[in-house]
């Protein structure tokens, strides 16, 4: 129905505002951990406004232009497919029977677009970053898929809506407590997805300048910025749906996603950085082994 | 240290001995033909294993360049400067890269800034600091840096330059004292 499109736009705009605010809060918390005052929590909005109106005069070919769009599309796709509030007309989004599979596809799609564009820009730093990024993606996809497929087998569904409704009825029905080992694997994989600090070798600030977007400027960068914020919110909502029992009203959704966000920020604030091969080795040992415990338990049952 | 200098005097001809401004600094002037022999003797027999610096001085009045080789002994913690004089009209000398390989960079620098040619140094003609330099070597004393700087880079024609800043400051402090 046509008003679904309006609802979708509303979700995207709201998600962007929330994502930028979360980014600002994370900058503030990191600054306080350093003993600084830090920027205002609205700094990311200001950065975005500035970037939109910067001029650009560089060209590196077609793929260079398309990559920020891929990133943006990946972000919007993830955000629009996960149900934020179940059984709500607006906020259940475009959730349907097989949405989990499409979400998994979109999550890889954004990263691949980014890698293609970065490699096309011709800068050695941004060509170095995709090799690291794809290696790390190969690392975290394994524990993430183990945890997601484990849940899908356990509840016998690939629909996020069904997964959420299966977790209703008290805090102990959440997958976090029903399948704790799968949850640990999933949350460790999430740290890799956010390129949070132990696994930040892709962007690697101070080491390879700013990583993939080294050659991107002005409007392109603002698209990437937007895409990343939407992607971030989408993934917080996805993990809320998968492990924390979804949300029945908007306030609950805010509280739960903010809790997951704080988990990421505090881990980011205190850890140094793994090298690529160390990160991949870490992902393929501890979270995989931990996740397999529950995986096997589900199969035996 | 005196013993070392005495031993050196027995073997080589020391033109002049000087005491440095520090306790552990001595300066010896030797003949330029015997420099390699002196350096290798000091390096192999007297523990002066470290070449700290090679530097150059332009004695334009005597029409000479002075090359100084500053050595350091880790065991005795003393500096020794061996200096030689070469002709300013024909600034040529032999490299000491066979004794101290790190002298390559110092000699390259001296070649660029003073124009002294070190025979046997393979990289001395590469650019060290200056790129595309077309004047005489800039550290020679007959090169007028102020004139070159004014011609090349200009100067700001501002009121600040014409005003007497010392007078302004003294006026200000007088006024401040009166208060």
């Amino acid at each position: 129905m046509w008003y679904k499109i309006l609802y979708g736009l509303l979700v995207v705009v709201g998600g962007l505002a929330y994502g930028l605010l979360l980014g600002g809060i994370s900058r503030k918390i990191t600054a306080r951990l350093h003993g600084r005052r830090g920027p205002t929590v609205f700094q990311n909005y200001i950065d975005l406004i500035k970037l939109i109106r910067k001029k650009t005069a560089i060209s590196h070919g077609t793929m260079f232009f398309l990559a920020p769009m891929f990133r943006l599309l990946g972000g919007i796709g993830v955000l629009l497919l996960v149900p934020i509030v179940t059984k709500s007309a607006i906020l259940s989004n475009f959730s349907f029977g097989g949405d989990l599979i499409v979400v998994l596809y979109f999550m890889v799609f954004g990263c691949l677009g980014m890698a293609l564009g970065a490699a096309d820009s011709g800068h050695p730093h941004s060509a170095l970053a995709p090799t690291r990024g794809l290696a790390q993606m190969a690392g975290y996809e394994l524990p993430f898929l183990i945890s997601v497929i484990g849940l899908a087998i356990a509840h016998n569904t690939v629909s996020l809506g069904t997964l959420v409704s299966a977790q209703q009825g008290g805090i102990l029905h959440w997958n976090l407590f029903q399948y704790p080992f799968l949850s640990i694997a999933g949350f460790i994989a999430m740290l890799g997805m956010y390129m949070a600090y132990p696994f930040s070798v892709v962007m690697a600030p101070q080491e390879i300048a700013v990583g993939p977007p080294t050659e991107y400027s002005s409007t392109f960068l603002s698209f990437m910025f937007t895409g990343r914020s939407l992607f971030g919110v989408g993934k917080y909502v996805l993990f809320m749906d998968l492990f924390l029992g979804g949300a029945t009203n908007l306030l609950e959704a805010f509280v739960k996603t903010f809790a997951i966000f704080l988990f990421v920020v505090f881990i980011t604030g205190v850890f140094p950085r793994y090298r690529t091969e160390q990160a991949v080795k870490f992902f393929w040992t501890y979270p995989v082994v931990i996740g397999l415990i529950d995986f096997i338990r589900i199969f035996i049952k | 240290m005196e013993q070392t200098i005495k031993k050196l005097e027995n073997i080589f001809k020391i033109v002049k001995k000087e005491k440095g401004k520090r306790e552990n600094l001595n300066i010896l002037e030797v003949e330029k033909d015997s420099l390699h022999a002196v350096l290798s003797y000091l390096r192999d027999n007297e523990s002066f294993k470290h070449l700290a610096l090679v530097s150059c001085v332009d004695w334009i009045e005597d029409n000479k360049f002075q090359l100084s080789y500053i050595l350091w002994s880790y065991q005795r913690r003393v500096n020794l400067i061996i200096k030689i004089f070469i002709d300013r009209d024909k600034p040529e000398f032999k490299t000491i890269m066979n004794l101290f390989p790190q002298a390559e960079v110092y000699e390259r620098e001296i070649k660029e800034l003073y124009g002294v040619n070190f025979e046997g140094n393979p990289t001395q003609d590469e650019e060290f600091v200056l790129e595309d330099w077309d004047q005489i070597p800039p550290m020679r004393r007959d090169f007028d840096t102020l004139k070159y700087s004014n011609e090349m880079f200009g100067d700001r024609d501002s009121e600040v330059k014409k005003t007497n800043i010392r007078k302004i400051i003294s006026d200000y402090t007088d006024e401040w004292r009166r208060k």
Partner: protein
């Protein structure tokens, strides 16, 4: 724009903005200044204390980026040798408009203590347009922050238009640059 060219060899077009939203965007520009991390002289040692815990420039929206493409501000930190001037010009031209330049120290004003040096550029604003000078030898981080406050004020009032002047008077700047850089090997226009 042409595809598959790493340098645009064409002369850049002059940029004109519509005036309607200018005030709002100038406010955003002033509040979010990204500085390219490129130290040219001794003054770059004053930048790390400025951005870290002691003086914390990030509370004014000033933060570091590693690449000139994303940067808004280029800090010329101290004396500028001819060799470095070439790199500064390239970095400046790779930055995207609007862009601002801050000159730190007496050396960028008139050569400072190197006024008679054979290798130090005396008047930096002949080669790249400079929006704010910060005097001192070297200026302390407080002084640099004061300079940034001045720059923000200029941007908000719309007076920080050095990048426009650079595009308008490109021939004059190129003539000055080519006088000092004798062997011009870099591409003519590299934006």
């Amino acid at each position: 724009m042409k595809d598959n060219k790493y340098f645009l060899d064409d002369r850049p077009e002059k940029i004109s903005y519509s005036e309607v939203w200018q005030k709002f965007f100038n406010w955003a520009r002033a509040k979010s200044l990204w500085v390219v991390a490129y130290g040219t002289g001794c003054g770059s040692i004053e930048i790390p204390p400025m951005v870290t815990s002691r003086f914390d420039a990030e509370r004014f929206g000033v933060s570091n980026v590693g690449t000139p493409r994303q940067a808004d501000v280029l800090i010329i930190s101290g004396y500028l040798a001819v060799k470095t001037l070439k790199r500064v010009i390239r970095v400046y031209e790779q930055m995207q408009s609007p862009k601002y330049v801050v000159g730190l120290g007496a050396c960028t004003v008139n050569g400072g203590m190197y006024y008679d040096s054979y290798n130090t550029v005396n008047l930096v604003d002949q080669y790249v347009p400079i929006d704010v000078f910060v005097a001192g030898c070297m200026p302390r981080p407080e002084a640099i922050l004061a300079g940034f406050a001045q720059l923000m004020k200029k941007i908000k009032e719309g007076r920080a238009d050095g990048w426009k002047q650079y595009l308008d008077n490109l021939d004059k700047y190129r003539k000055n640059q080519e006088k000092v850089i004798k062997n011009w090997k870099i591409p003519n226009y590299n934006w």
